[in-house]
């Protein structure tokens, strides 16, 4: 169990100014607080338009949120210049969480409602298509069963089967390729595309998801697994996080589960 200041983490928050529309900041706050409460030193580096890509390599974890369309275009331009550096980090297993627009970015392409194709960073084997403005956005509370987090990294690393709770709101439908696993299975809601019951994606230690809410405050064990992954990757040895009192988090999860008529 750790509860001292021997450990420290640096989180790179990609485009906080532009890619933080649906309360995405809550994910950073959750990571920050859950580290602080355990005495882990944490630094959040805000990487806005024009940031020096050398900073990326000083980060132990990356986070990027969703955005509105215009903002997303501005970011796309900047990010394309840094895609090699980002790809290298993701391939090297630097843990990362990519929500909604960021998740779509990592794929091969995004086809807009009007048919225009926007090139993705081509880091993850997936693509996203907007079926057209006549099709409804996928909006609502969502529950996802996650079971394959186990074994994504260190042999000792293990996460029990758990249910992620969140809120989704996206027009694009994402389809996974052969070389990538979904984050979980949709129990209630739409997920990646509303058809194949998959939600999100896992590649090495990077996680893509459509879950807002934001995802981490209401899914504290997922937040902790990211922290653990990042610490183990950085220090190269198994690390057990000291437990926190998550009774309020549990109540928040249960109140949504009750509405969705599911058991947690």
């Amino acid at each position: 169990m750790i509860h001292n200041t021997k450990y420290s983490l640096t989180i790179g928050w990609l485009y906080p100014e532009l890619m933080s529309t649906y309360g995405d900041r809550g994910n950073i706050i959750a990571l920050q607080k859950r580290c602080e409460w355990r005495g882990i030193n944490i630094e959040v580096k805000r990487l806005d338009i024009g940031f020096d890509q050398k900073i990326l390599t000083t980060c132990d974890m990356l986070f990027m949120g969703g955005a509105q369309d215009q903002q997303q275009k501005i970011v796309a331009e900047d990010l394309q210049k840094k895609s090699e550096a980002l790809k290298k980090m993701i391939d090297n297993g630097i843990p990362g969480l990519y929500i909604c627009g960021a998740y779509q970015f990592l794929g091969k392409y995004y086809k807009e409602a009007g048919g225009k194709i926007i090139k993705g960073l081509d880091i993850l084997d997936l693509y996203t298509e907007h079926p057209g403005t006549k099709f409804a956005r996928l909006i609502g509370n969502i529950a996802v069963k996650v079971s394959n987090l186990r074994g994504v990294t260190h042999a000792t690393y293990e996460v029990n089967v758990q249910t992620l709770i969140g809120f989704e709101n996206h027009g694009g439908r994402t389809y996974l390729g052969k070389n990538i696993k979904p984050l979980g299975k949709v129990i209630k809601g739409f997920g990646n595309n509303g058809a194949d019951k998959t939600e999100g994606a896992i590649y090495k230690n990077s996680f893509g998801s459509y879950l807002h809410g934001p995802i981490l405050p209401k899914n504290p064990s997922f937040a902790d697994s990211l922290i653990k992954l990042a610490l183990e990757k950085k220090y190269g040895s198994p690390i057990n996080l000291s437990p926190l009192d998550d009774s309020l988090e549990t109540l928040a999860r249960k109140s949504i589960a009750k509405r969705l008529s599911i058991e947690l």
Binding site: G23, G26, Q68, Q70, I139, G213, K218
Partner: protein, 438 residues
């Protein structure tokens, strides 16, 4: 069916609705009229009400308050004015309001001015019905209910297309400090356009809030430079790349501000600017402002068993940030937060994480949390504290009990500040006053 018949039918529906306490008929009589004649609004205004002047008020925050300010000033100068019921701001609400104020025999509207607060998505639709409104006020554009309204840029695009069809018969009153709103000026041609904004640096904030939306030039996409930020993305802005800049202001201050908060300074000067354009004298404007009473739930003060309660409707990140800032300036100690996620509130509550609770939370000694999403709000507050202490807030899902508890914990000369989302505000008022308003 003729409009005269529709008015008769509509009034009958309103009568029945009120008789059986089914609500005050603020939307569905209009809904029925539009079902029978989809051009009901257009026909009614063109055929026999050409003298009625129309004022449309759009924007994410401040519509109801600005409408009430305009109405108060116009009435003070002897004009006959009506306004659609607050919150009934879709086409059906506007049609209902027209019905309600039409003479049942002549189908005429015997008023000088009609004020309509218009929902973001409805503005383009209403501009098809009311093609030449006399005034259009655009207050601001913030992110709000992304699940329902869509994204800020989508709305701004729809607005600029719709406003582009206006001509010289309309006076367009725009917030110069909001880059997206000010940039709507690029489109209408020949339209009399006037600008309001602030120039008082003592009101400026030191840093931009997290929930700010329009950091980037609506014209060229480069980052904007601000010499002063008043709240969210509102301020004295300029684009260093394409020279798009804040337009020259036609008004920036007033000797009287009847409501607290910087956000209400904008609402007030917008209303004054309109009144000046109508030709109302300064004295009449000022005396009307001095007697102004807030709209329900917007800084409305109630007295409950000898204790003072003030309700600050807080419906999106910017609105909640500004409420917190305003009550913090009042040295508030007692806070009741009520978060709902019904259709009028927006079903996604993620936005509470964009609110800067961290800046204020330590100032309160009594915090109670309630609403449909009590636990989401409780989590947000838990994560806003520098260190965890459980006793900081009380969780009570039952709103009636939550109100009772927070009142009980408020010592007598102090005020209980209630910050609810929209449907929560209606519920809070119903509990406190025993009456329904919508």
């Amino acid at each position: 069916m003729t409009n005269a018949l529709l008015i008769f039918l509509g009034k009958f529906i309103i009568f029945i609705s009120r008789l059986f306490n089914l609500g005050n008929g603020s939307t569905w009589p209009g809904h029925i009229a539009l079902l029978i004649n989809k051009n009901f609004i257009k026909d009614l205004l063109i055929t026999n009400n050409q003298k009625l002047k129309t004022i449309l008020i759009a924007g994410t925050n401040g519509k109801t308050t600005t409408g009430k300010l305009v109405q108060t000033i116009l009435e003070r100068s002897g004009k006959k004015v009506f306004q659609n019921t607050a919150g009934a701001n879709l086409l059906n609400g506007i049609a209902s309001s027209l019905l309600l104020h039409s003479d049942i025999l002549s189908a005429r509207i015997n008023y000088d001015f009609a004020i309509f607060e218009i929902d973001e998505n409805t503005l383009p639709l209403i501009l098809k019905e009311i093609k030449n409104p006399d005034f259009v006020i655009i207050l601001n554009l913030f992110r709000d209910q992304l699940d329902r309204y869509g994204e800020v840029n989508t709305i701004s695009k729809k607005w600029s297309d719709a406003l582009g069809k206006l001509d010289e018969r309309t006076t367009l009153i725009l917030n110069a400090d909001d880059p997206q709103v000010a940039s709507l000026r690029l489109h209408p041609k020949g339209v009399n356009t006037k600008f309001f904004g602030l120039n008082d640096k003592s009101l400026a904030t030191s840093e931009k809030q997290h929930a700010a939306d329009s950091n980037y030039c609506p014209k060229c996409g480069s980052k904007l430079h601000y010499s002063a930020v008043y709240y969210s993305h509102l301020g004295n802005w300029t684009c260093l790349k394409c020279n798009n800049t804040r337009p020259k202001l036609d008004i920036s201050t007033s000797s009287v501000f009847p409501l607290l908060g910087v956000y209400n300074r904008y609402n007030t000067i917008a209303a004054i600017l309109l009144a000046q354009e109508v030709g109302i004298s300064k004295n009449k404007i000022i005396s009307a402002l001095k007697d102004f009473q807030p709209a329900f739930g917007r800084q409305e003060t109630l007295s409950i068993n000898g204790k003072k309660v003030q309700i600050f409707l807080s419906k999106n990140p910017t609105s909640l940030n500004e409420s917190l800032k305003t009550i913090s300036d009042l040295k508030a100690k007692n806070l009741l937060l009520v978060l709902n996620d019904r259709i009028p509130d927006g079903r996604d509550v993620s936005w509470i994480w964009d609110v800067d609770f961290e800046d204020y939370i330590d100032e309160f000694s009594n915090i109670v949390i309630s609403g449909d999403r009590t636990y989401d709000m409780a989590l947000r507050i838990k994560y806003s504290q520098p260190i965890i202490h459980d006793s900081l807030f009380i969780i009570q899902e039952d709103l009636r009990k939550a109100i009772a508890m927070s009142l009980e914990k408020t010592p007598k000369p102090e005020i209980l500040y209630i910050l609810p989302t929209y449907s929560a505000m209606l519920e809070v008022r119903k509990i406190l006053t025993g009456r329904r308003i919508l």
